[in-house]
Symmetry: C3
Subunit: 262 residues, 3 copies
């Protein structure tokens, strides 16, 4: 039986420097989430330095939330440099089906073979070329409806795909896991998914992508459960969530995960 | 007698997708405010996709807080597409009198006839072409001093103008309302006005602009009263405010509004 | 003996309008920190208006956290205008040693002779041309190791250099001070240093740069001590910190500072 808490322990012992090119909405919360978890985030996006910085960082995350053609060039430079250096990177394809710019960005970044793709069901469906219902950042499709698309994407990229929602689904195209940790308040707070992408990036450093992603999602959902139990609403949830990410230890994760092989 | 709570109820039943082109300072808080209120915010700004996305969204808000010429092009494309589609949009003319770029942006966006303009007294005075004292984001003029300018602007655009401050003033150039909800801590927290603009945008979907704006302001101020009563300062105010936006129901609004016809 | 609280009192009595060109991660928190302290922040960055706005503002802060060539032009225009008008400005050289773009930006901004430079030890070492260990936003060198570099930089610019960490070191190249206020949780929260830069900028208006900077750091660290005593982790620290900045008075500062001449 997997001791899921060891993935958190290993991540913390490394305090990995993770470069994040994310959207303007997520920047602050993502950095705080990663610091609370025990990683060292750095937000470096411009094409004038994003590839150069990727040589220093131990992992990369790319999120297309508030996209522009200029930022897309910085994302591609960083992803290319990270991939060429044999380091892991995570793609977060926010609202990838909504506009031509996003569909094009999704295809270009997919070609750089992300180690992990983390998105909601509508985003994973759109990225896989299927019809998706979601228009904004919120999913309008069920996670179950995106399982086949997730497997197909994983086989196409040779990486891992994580579809997150009330129940998460994580697969490398061969094996798959379901994670039931989480709290109903989480969709009522912005950038919870974007910030999770950073935690996944930190867990990937020096660890196998599939179980590391599962462990990251379970740890994150468990922190959400703790925060949700203490919160009066989405406002008080947020400080409680950062406190939980900070205080949860490997043993708490091992005991608290709700993970099953699919 | 108007049942003001029904405007909140209708907004929540629709959970409208609202596109927001706002400043970097406001992005995260505005998204959380709108999610807590019950709307679905999407931050999509670049001219490469802002007009295309406007076809999907049900309303638009535009805020010139951290302006640049590039973003202004994205704002105009989105406002034009929203207006052509007959959907509502809100203009938030942050510090519009402070620089030539802002005065020009104000004039260009005004020509696209916003459904609602929401600003502080100094901004409404500057937008109307009057001398205004405010230089930064904070108002240096009283709401009362901006009432004539608000009426003139409303007649010029054919829309609604909301001047917010200790007492709010809302008019379509014909009828006018005053709203006394709110709390003295609110000006000590950044982007409270910017985030309110998003809530106004959500209330406009499928509802009459004048009463919907009044109801949005009263609901927002009422949440501020609740948060202020629980807060020890501007830090603890913020989570309490999101919790209040989330937990306040239509009946609370109907009972708690302090609205009078001017 | 210096009455350090008077620097806070003078700052609050002026509520100075401070222009900040900072990174995307810091914008919201920095604005809230400055409002809670009693200043009036304005975020205006684009070269199309940054120099023009500098004529209105009473001080400027520049932070290169999420740098791009375009923003660098806006920073230089604002710093030049501020300097020519004889008003104070603060440089925050985030991760200045990490990439060629940052090294170039550091050199260009240094040539505009900032009134105060505030950075961590690795950043001050890199800016002074020494070998530094830090790669991201976190310092990997001790404050003590950067004291000589700080003095050299102060003599080079004719300004003040503040190296912040567990113990802060502030010098004008002649006299030096050490500040021991602060809390161990502070490095686990993002943009605490960036936001401090804004507070320093507000304290500089109409006050001597060296003691005003020492007073700003002591006040900020004291607020951190209060918040840390009340917090369960980095999440609950944040609202408590803003509340402490807001409620601490000049007398609290005078009594609570831990300042010694070096």
């Amino acid at each position: 039986m997997t001791d899921w808490g060891t993935y958190l322990e290993t991540m913390r012992s490394q305090a990995p420097l993770v470069q994040n090119i994310t959207n303007y909405v997520a920047m602050n919360v993502m950095a705080n989430v990663m610091l609370a978890a025990g990683a060292s985030p750095a937000m470096v996006h411009d094409e004038a330095e994003s590839g150069e910085f990727a040589a220093i960082a131990q992992a990369l995350t790319v999120n297309i939330g508030t996209l522009s053609p200029h930022w897309l060039r910085g994302m591609e430079a960083a992803a290319r440099a990270t991939r060429e250096a044999g380091k892991p990177w995570v793609l977060d394809p926010v609202a990838v089906g909504a506009t031509a710019l996003r569909r094009s960005a999704g295809a270009r970044l997919l070609a750089l073979k992300p180690t992990v793709i983390r998105g909601n069901a509508s985003e994973v469906l759109a990225l896989a070329g299927a019809d998706a219902a979601g228009k904004g950042a919120d999913a309008a499709d069920s996670v179950a409806a995106a399982e086949d698309a997730a497997c197909a994407l994983a086989l196409q990229t040779g990486g891992v795909v994580a579809v997150t929602g009330a129940q998460d689904f994580v697969t490398d195209g061969d094996t798959a896991w379901r994670i039931d940790n989480g709290h109903p308040l989480m969709p009522r707070i912005t950038v919870m998914g974007c910030s999770l992408t950073g935690v996944v990036g930190a867990f990937l450093v020096g660890q196998d992508a599939l179980p590391a992603t599962v462990a990251a999602l379970a740890y994150y959902g468990l922190a959400g459960e703790r925060a949700g139990a203490a919160a009066q609403g989405p406002g008080s949830f947020q400080p409680a969530f950062l406190d939980a990410l900070y205080t949860l230890g490997p043993d708490d994760v091992t005991r608290g995960v709700k993970v099953t092989q699919a």
